[in-house]
């Protein structure tokens, strides 16, 4: 009975509740932004944030592996009672707690932030995984230039994507002059007292007075070109960046 029920659960789950993502071919020359280690290695990614990466990767982790090998030769007591191996089991509990925290530290929540414009691009048009912009149905991705938060009449899918565009911009921007929609810029100064960057309530690196647009243009008869453009101020002067993506009619991002 249990075998049949488990089979039923697996078949139903794999048919209707799981879909293998169609991702890019692996290329050692291309590292997508915010790579995430598989769940069973998240602890090691957490450790990389604790100290020098070379020390952690080449000395600490191999040393830990060696420690596991020699452990049976250190703890040689025959009794398995807790009372007889208090130190060993306490260390093991501490190690388990440390591993839990390490896994948490290695989760995407504690990733290393990139520049704010790249973070916006990553949130809307990531190199891998679900994309807010690409998952708008092909027909709804109208040709034109759109601003974050713009309401496109009769097009709820594109309007929703533009709302997410606005939210992403608000998270990574600030205003040099007070504004009711975005946080005020908080200057961060270097050792010599000059402003090196600005922060807001969400992040330590925010784009001052940022403006952005989404441009959708025809590329081929069944493909559209998508450009995200961001212009902002910086301590060094105005900066402008953009990212380019394409949306083919058959690419099926709605399923992702």
């Amino acid at each position: 009975m249990w075998t049949a029920l488990a089979s039923l659960l697996l078949v139903v789950g794999s048919l209707w509740f799981y879909s293998a993502p169609l991702e890019s071919q692996a290329n050692p020359l291309v590292t997508p932004l915010h790579v995430v280690a598989p769940w069973y290695l998240a602890w090691s990614q957490g450790w990389l944030k604790l100290a020098d990466k070379v020390f952690i990767a080449f000395i600490f982790i191999p040393a830990l592996a060696v420690a596991f090998f020699v452990m049976p030769y250190i703890e040689v007591g025959k009794s398995r009672r807790y009372a007889d191996r208090r130190v060993g089991l306490s260390v093991a509990m501490l190690f388990i707690a440390f591993m839990l925290i390490s896994n948490w530290m290695g989760s995407p929540e504690y990733r290393v932030e990139s520049s704010p414009d790249q973070e916006v691009f990553q949130e809307l048009l990531p190199q891998e995984g679900h994309s807010v912009i690409l998952s708008v149905p092909y027909e709804d991705l109208e040709i034109g230039t759109f601003e974050p938060g713009q309401e496109v009449a009769g097009n709820p899918a594109l309007t929703d994507a533009l709302r997410e565009f606005e939210a992403a911009m608000n998270r990574h921007s600030c205003n040099l002059e007070s504004d009711q929609w975005r946080d005020d810029c908080k200057p961060i100064t270097g050792n010599d007292g000059t402003v090196t960057q600005y922060a807001n309530n969400f992040t330590k690196d925010a784009m001052p007075d940022a403006e952005a647009v989404l441009i959708v243009e025809p590329e081929q008869h069944d493909m559209k070109r998508i450009t995200l453009q961001i212009q902002s101020e910086s301590p060094e002067g105005p900066v402008s960046t953009n990212t380019l993506a394409f949306r083919h009619l058959d690419a099926g991002y709605e399923e992702d």
Partner: protein, 281 residues
């Protein structure tokens, strides 16, 4: 005990029924996934094309409006790829001209991978010393071939029959030299003959900056117009001795399919344009 057997039997039968229904829809699901894969190949090919190929072939693949890395306008030195004679039909006109025995996709991917020896087209595959992986060559190929899926380029209305060329240029319509620069670019002349205003820009074929003066003197008894006309239609009709990198190759490496590509008006416009090129040596 019996209830467990009943539940297990029902669950087993449900699994069988569900798998049977799933099998019915599997071909459609696989088709959609295959379409999605091909669509994403085209998208990734577009990124690679704009990063690596558009500088010479143009952003629209028509060998016009080329810009360099800094965004400055430059002469397009690549052949047009968004081009009916290359992409329409299996085999297309270009494949028939060169006697290609394999598929169109193979022709494009081989050209991208191995480049074109003797021209400015470099090798792109890592197998030939280039920067791209094999799957990236496939992606660029998918992007280029996707232009051929456009009904406006390859639909029934778009197919133009090859011209039955007259023997003499005099039977062509009146030419308009003003259309010449555009035709020169879109037909890929600049790829080998360079920019007519820049004598050092020709890479493979002779520079044409002074063709308006020298055409009449090339072959005794043949007018400048007739010389140009025959040279375009049949690149082996007359082969000049000197090319930018030494003696010109015999037989000529120039494309021999312009008789299939150009209209009579295009030909007349190009001849009129070439006759105006009298400045650079």
């Amino acid at each position: 005990m019996q209830i467990k057997v009943v539940i297990g039997t029902i669950a087993f039968m449900l699994v069988m029924v569900i798998l049977g229904v799933a099998a019915l829809f599997e071909p459609a699901r696989l088709g959609e996934t295959t379409d999605a894969f091909v669509g994403r190949q085209v998208e990734k090919g577009a990124v690679l094309f704009h990063e690596n190929c558009a500088e010479c072939h143009g952003a629209e693949g028509k060998a016009i409006d080329c810009v360099d890395f800094a965004g400055e306008e430059k002469s397009c030195v690549g052949l047009p790829l968004n081009h009916a004679p290359l992409l329409c039909g299996e085999p297309s006109q270009r494949l028939q001209q060169v006697g290609w025995q394999s598929s169109k996709a193979n022709y494009v991917s081989q050209t991208v991978a191995a480049g074109r020896p003797g021209t400015l087209m470099p090798t792109w595959s890592q197998d030939f010393g280039g920067p791209m992986e094999d799957y990236q060559i496939d992606q660029v190929t998918a992007f280029v071939l996707n232009w051929g899926e456009d009904p406006e380029l390859c639909g029934e209305e778009a197919i133009v029959e090859a011209v039955d060329w007259p023997d003499s240029w005099e039977d062509l319509p009146q030419g308009d030299a003003a259309n010449g620069p555009g035709l020169y670019q879109i037909n890929g002349c600049a790829g080998c003959h360079g920019d007519p205003d820049n004598p050092g820009s020709a890479a493979v074929g002779p520079h044409l900056g002074n063709i308006g003066n020298v055409a009449a003197t090339r072959v005794p008894g043949i007018s400048a117009e007739q010389y140009i006309y025959e040279s375009i239609l049949n690149p082996n009709a007359f082969i000049v001795p000197e090319c930018p990198s030494g003696p010109c190759a015999e037989p000529s490496v120039m494309r021999a399919d312009y008789g299939f590509v150009l209209s009579e008006q295009d030909m007349a416009d190009l001849i009129a344009y070439y006759l105006t090129l009298t400045s650079a040596p």
